[in-house]
Symmetry: C2
Subunit: 436 residues, 2 copies
């Protein structure tokens, strides 16, 4: 939980740095609105029982609810972030189906703007977050749906097979080209020569020079939509260079991204495997952030079909949580689960009343304080508690202190104790906390 | 959303001040585990469709999932907070049933401790939060389930009618005694003389003196469980006095609280109606926080029935959100929805590249910055945007500035502009922001 909080804080503060406002949309959507938005994945949507009333499903991601919000409220322009849970069934075919609950962190820019400026900002945000989290080296693959479709068209893939072939291509980060080719030909009935032509393209990746090279490609350059995509990517790389992040971005023709709603630029960030250090288990790499442009989704929710162009990104925080946790486990770093600053202790019996008065004083001064819920705890038990919980300061009150109008202030780390006049206690604690 | 964020920040920081750690439990529970925990309310639970696998329901509150978590993980001691969504059906009988999604903020202390110390801390927390939110004067009603049951027993309510009569009594904050009495007698079949005896009790409220008085009550003092409750309340008031909050607490024999799982002290905070000020609509008052002790709930989830005593509270943040929002609407106070500190502008065409480089510099320095996503925006449009959005600073770059190696820094409020050397810009912005 502490790790989660730190990661989410960093993500949200980056979203705010880019001028986004927070927006929360409900966890449920009308079932009929959700189906058909996710392509092959829609079997993973979790439905609610019909208990009278509308048929509802749990949200599968934060993008579709955002698009619906824009359409319903006729919002034409908005920059928002949303940190929330989404729910997916593990598999639609499993009998013992279980659901999974994810946290997602999304940032989206909706509105009609000059080409590629918001898109470049989305990539900048992904870079800032991944650098900020210190997850090691990363790379962001970029492509464009129009280039994917253009590539399929010029290679001779029948349009009815675009999505199925796309989802095979998407597996290239886990499977070899040979296996993917086999799947396309044997299982999805693609002609072998068509598969080979695709193979020539999807094995290409590089920087802006690859974009230039594709402009010269005799077949791709004949496809109008692919050309539009290439034009946009060229402009995008220009902006990424100005942002100082172009070396983190790779134009990768094998990036397809399964979701049906993307219409333009698409991207996916992966962590680059670093050689396992001594005693460290190799981390499984994979996508940690992704997104793209979806200019048609809002119109699907608008009664008159009015569109609002959108581009956005989603940070895969669950995967990031596990990576950070695993790192900390390996390094043996201990994280405090509470933020308690001061513990109120007594060496004597029958001092509950004094402890209660004292701790209320600290709470009222905004100091994070704890005590044991016992009438007569042993001093050693109380000090051990502080050591176990990492509480830095202890205030001790006993008969002697009460008589002299002082409180003992003890540093848990150094075990030093000083007597402080009761009326100066809060000020002294604040001073110590601000110094540490 | 901004109001929500501020309220939640205050609530969570209070929970942390009291040494709680954050804990997140899933949104779903096994259906069979949820039913029977909520008494009359269980018809409001929202079930998931059976798509294969376990039958699940959405969590109705955060208490039952916490109890289940303790039991499943054999945790014997824990102080945790949880901010999360819960879901309820509006009404089980309505055909056009709709669901409601709430945010709840819970704090709970689990473990075997000396009597009433954690309970008093829960009331202290409620006071700190309600004072901190500046919602006006408030009062916390306190009672004990054992006193309620004892009162019913000595008045001659049949045990099978305890819950039904309890839920009538609970309506005393909205209905007159006359109407409640009618409901008990006419609808729930209670003997009129029994109702009248209850009436004598439930119209009593007061401080610790009322507790003392009830010890002397010839009938109530004969009931063993009621006596235990009174003993605990006496001790509780002693601690509340040490915490300096006893004048906010009222022992109120009409407080019953519907949920089945409470076993000891129960409490509910209400806002006291302040006379409507000029132009201000009177606020509807009501419960804004509540809780109590539930010593038997964890055992219901434990295979061997092992119990972990618990006490906790829930802040009714949704109601608080509306109150704060209404106050702000009435006072005309405007809240910024974003935190953007600096806007990057240009008076000239063809300056997109310079703006992109400059804004990346600000982002990389951790400054919250925005610009318009247009190649050639008008300067006036850009300055208007800052005024509308409440952005305090503008940096302006044009041909002149570029030539001289300076950037113009403009204060939106005073409209003053100064030219600053490019290399000193970030430092100057930081200085200005820290001063404001």
């Amino acid at each position: 939980m502490v790790v989660r909080e730190k990661v989410l804080d960093l993500v949200v503060s980056c979203f705010k740095r880019h001028g986004a406002k927070g927006l929360d949309t409900p966890a449920f959507e009308l079932k009929e609105l959700l189906t058909e938005k996710y392509g092959e994945d829609s079997g993973l949507i979790y439905d609610l029982k019909d208990q009278g009333g509308e048929l509802l499903s749990l949200r599968y991601d934060l993008t579709v609810p955002f698009a619906r919000y824009l359409a319903m409220n006729k919002v034409k322009k908005m920059k928002r972030y949303h940190v929330g849970k989404v729910w997916r069934r593990e598999s639609p075919t499993m009998v013992q189906g279980r659901y999974r609950e994810f946290c997602q962190c999304d940032f989206d820019i909706a509105g009609q703007f000059d080409s590629m400026i918001p898109d470049a900002e989305c990539l900048k945000i992904m870079c800032e977050i991944l650098s900020g989290l210190q997850l090691g080296d990363f790379l962001i693959k970029v492509n464009d749906r129009r280039i994917v479709d253009g590539m399929f068209a010029v290679c001779g893939v029948p349009e009815s097979k675009f999505r199925a072939i796309g989802s095979s291509i998407d597996k290239l980060d886990k499977m070899s080209w040979k296996d993917v080719r086999h799947e396309m030909v044997a299982k999805k009935g693609l002609a072998p020569e068509v598969a080979d032509q695709i193979g020539d393209y999807v094995q290409c990746h590089g920087g802006v020079t690859l974009v230039e090279q594709m402009f010269q490609d005799p077949r791709l350059s004949q496809n109008k939509r692919a050309l539009e995509g290439l034009e946009d990517l060229k402009l995008l790389f220009e902006y990424l260079t100005l942002f100082g992040i172009s070396e983190k971005i790779s134009f990768d023709l094998s990036l397809v991204r399964g979701l049906d709603y993307y219409t333009g630029v698409i991207y996916e960030a992966i962590l680059l495997q670093t050689p396992a250090q001594a005693g460290e288990e190799p981390l499984s790499v994979g996508s940690v952030a992704a997104g793209g442009r979806y200019d048609g989704l809002v119109g699907m929710f608008d009664p008159k079909g009015h569109n609002v162009p959108c581009v956005g990104l989603s940070i895969g925080v669950e995967r990031i949580f596990s990576i950070v946790e695993q790192r900390m486990k390996t390094s043996g770093e201990k994280v405090r689960t509470t933020e308690t600053q001061v513990f109120v202790a007594t060496p004597q019996n029958n001092f509950l009343q004094e402890r209660l008065k004292l701790i209320a004083e600290l709470w009222d001064a905004g100091i994070k304080a704890e005590m044991l819920y016992k009438n007569n705890p042993k001093l050693l038990t109380q000090l051990h508690y502080c050591e176990n919980m990492g509480i830095p300061l202890v205030v001790i009150i006993g008969e002697q202190e009460l008589k002299e109008g002082v409180i003992k202030l003890r540093s848990v780390a150094s075990r030093e104790e000083v007597a402080i006049k009761h009326e100066n206690l809060v000020a002294e604690i604040r001073k110590r906390l601000s110094e540490s």
